[in-house]
């Protein structure tokens, strides 16, 4: 009487194993499906046993009752009559109770396969790749899925001097894309011509960072863009003024109305800028190609340089997809970096300016080493004009090591392999100034 579902379930499970219809589903979801199948198989066994039990009981009971009713009159005015009727009803309801139990178990098993959006499923529950790489550095993806309309809007804004209050400064002034994504100065220039405390970081691969600026003042590109727009020493604009200028441009108005449901709003302006900045990837560095399996992409000395930075511990901080940019570290662990005559070194306390926590004094965001060969000068205050000097300083003050010139050369050779491509061409070197007196 009870259908033989167990055979059907087993057959379906066999088919599923050999021809999974939804290979794009995560392993987690497929495991959940298997749990449902196991549940159903157990259920059918229980159901069949219960069904047989029930059938036997009812048959016995009915036979007994038929015999009883034939030989005995069921008198509902007596307690014995009521007892006999109760037993009949109980046995009839036994079937209904079993059916309800079966249905509720099936429902519970099906509910276990609730869908959780893949984007919200924690990484540990997603299927990991078969051979998870153990290298501390990860190659940059060749492209990102970004809205092209928003990226185009952001590119226009990035090059537009109207973002500044006096229509004289654009983002490209400090972040020229044809020159390493930074201005090549030891200290960035403020709107009034004075110099900031710090060196301009490159804009390339900025979307791969976890925090921004040397002190992590912002955790999102949108927040950083707003700080730069409203800062008196940078763009020095206000939202009403900026929006009025952009609204007066029919192309901007049309573009924002097309790309965004809300049109031209501060949030959408920031999103457009951030979308463009996220598109500024420099993939296909020789080292990235080496990580993807092109072992000939690096020469033997460059590979030796990579082994050196691993063995010396540079990758303890310069790691991840952006070879930095995902953590903070104190500058000067085993030795004081020294100001080299710079008065700024005694003033710039790094992340302490943001958090006001004493522990964060002289702590800076670890910079990315991508395109490092073309983004001189180095360090937060641009104190090191050459890569060799930067490597020697880092080995001494951060690692407590004195490394030989030959090893410095090998490491520098490796660092040159981190230069990627932008629009199909290698990132060009930044313009380097030598007039700041810090050499």
């Amino acid at each position: 009487m009870w259908p033989n579902f167990s055979r059907l379930v087993a057959l379906y499970q066999t088919l599923w194993r050999h021809w999974p219809l939804t290979t794009s589903r995560t392993a987690w979801a497929r495991r959940e499906s298997r749990v449902v199948f196991v549940c159903l198989m157990k259920l059918t066994k229980v159901g069949r046993a219960a069904s047989e039990n029930w059938r036997l009981r009812v048959r016995l009971r009915m036979l007994s009752l038929v015999h009883t009713t034939k030989t005995t009159k069921i008198d509902l005015t007596t307690w014995r009559g009521y007892s006999l009727m109760g037993k009949i009803l109980f046995d009839v309801n036994f079937l209904g109770a079993n059916l309800c139990l079966v249905v509720s178990i099936v429902f519970a098993c099906v509910l276990m396969e609730r869908a959780i959006p893949a984007s919200e499923t924690p990484y540990m529950l997603l299927e990991r790749p078969a051979a998870e790489p153990q290298e501390p550095i990860v190659p940059i993806p060749l492209s990102l899925a970004l809205d092209p309309q928003r990226v185009a809007l952001g590119e226009r804004l990035f090059n537009d001097v109207r973002l500044s209050h006096d229509n004289t400064r654009a983002c490209t002034m400090c972040h020229p894309l044809q020159r390493g994504g930074m201005d090549g100065k030891s200290h960035a220039s403020a709107a009034n011509g004075t110099a900031f405390l710090r060196n301009t970081p490159t804009i390339f691969n900025v979307g791969l960072n976890a925090a921004f600026n040397w002190d992590g003042i912002a955790n999102t590109l949108e927040a950083l863009a707003e700080i730069d727009l409203l800062h008196p020493s940078q763009m020095n604009t206000t939202w009403p003024a900026l929006l009025a200028k952009l609204q007066a441009d029919a192309d901007y108005a049309t573009g924002f109305n097309t790309a965004y449901a809300g049109g031209l709003t501060p949030a959408n302006v920031l999103d457009a800028l951030a979308s463009f900045e996220r598109s500024l990837l420099t993939p296909n560095a020789r080292f990235d190609r080496y990580l993807r399996g092109e072992l000939h992409a690096l020469t033997a000395p460059e590979q030796h340089g990579y082994r050196l930075i691993k063995s010396y511990g540079c990758v303890a901080c310069h790691q991840g997809i952006n070879i930095g940019g995902n953590m903070y570290q104190k500058f000067g662990i085993f030795a004081a970096p020294g100001g080299m005559g710079s008065p700024a070194a005694a003033v710039d306390l790094g992340r302490y300016f943001v958090t006001k926590v004493p522990r964060d004094r002289e702590v800076f965001r670890v910079p990315s080493l991508r395109n490092v060969a073309v983004t001189a000068p180095y360090f937060h205050d641009g104190r090191a004009p050459t890569l060799e000097g930067a490597v020697e300083t880092m080995a001494r003050v951060q690692l407590g090591r004195t490394i030989t010139p030959e090893e410095i050369g090998l490491i520098v050779q490796f660092l040159h392999t981190l230069t990627g491509e932008f629009h199909g061409r290698p990132v060009a070197t930044s313009v380097q100034e030598h007039s700041d007196g810090y050499e």
Partner: protein
């Protein structure tokens, strides 16, 4: 008489039905879909928090190749919290105020946790680097001290006590590590003109400079040993 009893029974039954219907309507949840979304957001928050804890423990064990996943999980937690905040603001009645307080408390706790993760990442990077250096030093210094049994004995004692300290970072063992480092740095092979000051937060660890020539690696070994002595308890405190 019979008809009046019937009408009386009907009115009682109707009244009971109306009362039951009213109670049923009042007992309904005002927005089942909103409640489901908020529960889902809370569950997602829990899952991401568990993921973050797992990644931190992997990093402590030296099994995490890089730290990209930590801020990424933190951003996921922030996004989920933002969803929760937005949903709680749409609840009807007086509930948004109370729920808002709880959500803000959750946001403060998350901010504090991510700050601790930031500190942990910095300290753990130093710790893992120094532990790696110990392995390197063990391989390279051994042959060099074959002719200096006293130095070899000091290095062996230092290795033993450092291993004990790494396993059990208690203050008493830390003192033994400090004593072993002092003994090593006071051996006749220490450099005369080399004085290194390590600044870690408010602690200043100095290596005396008194005696003649000492290989650079021995000096670096002492420096890394002192760093482990300083940082390892901090890292474990952050984890707890």
């Amino acid at each position: 008489m019979g008809m009046s009893n019937v009408w009386k029974s009907l009115s009682v039954v109707s009244g009971l039905l109306l009362l039951l219907t009213y109670l049923l309507i009042q007992s309904r949840s005002p927005d089942l879909a909103l409640r489901a979304r908020m529960q889902e957001a809370l569950q997602t928050l829990q899952l991401h928090d568990t993921e973050l804890t797992r990644e931190v423990l992997l990093a402590r064990a030296g099994l995490l190749p890089h730290y990209d996943s930590l801020p990424r999980t933190g951003q996921s937690l922030s996004r989920t919290l933002g969803t929760l905040r937005a949903e709680s603001a749409t609840v009807s009645g007086q509930a948004p105020q109370e729920m808002g307080q709880h959500v803000e408390a959750l946001a403060a706790a998350l901010h504090q946790k991510m700050t601790l993760v930031e500190y942990f990442t910095s300290d753990n990077a130093l710790l893992q680097n120094s532990l790696t250096y110990l392995t390197y030093a063990g391989q390279t210094l051994g042959p060099r001290v074959e002719e200096e049994p006293a130095v070899a004995a000091h290095i062996a004692a230092l290795s033993q006590v450092l291993l004990r300290f790494i396993h059990t970072p208690e203050p008493s063992v830390g003192q033994e590590v400090g004593a072993a480092l002092d003994r090593l740095s006071q051996t006749p092979l220490f450099p005369q003109d080399f004085h290194t000051v390590i600044k870690l937060q408010s602690t200043e660890i100095g290596i005396p400079s008194q005696t003649p020539l000492f290989p650079q690696d021995f000096h670096t070994l002492v420096a890394h040993g002192r760093l482990i002595m300083e940082v390892l308890p901090q890292v474990d405190t952050l984890l707890r």
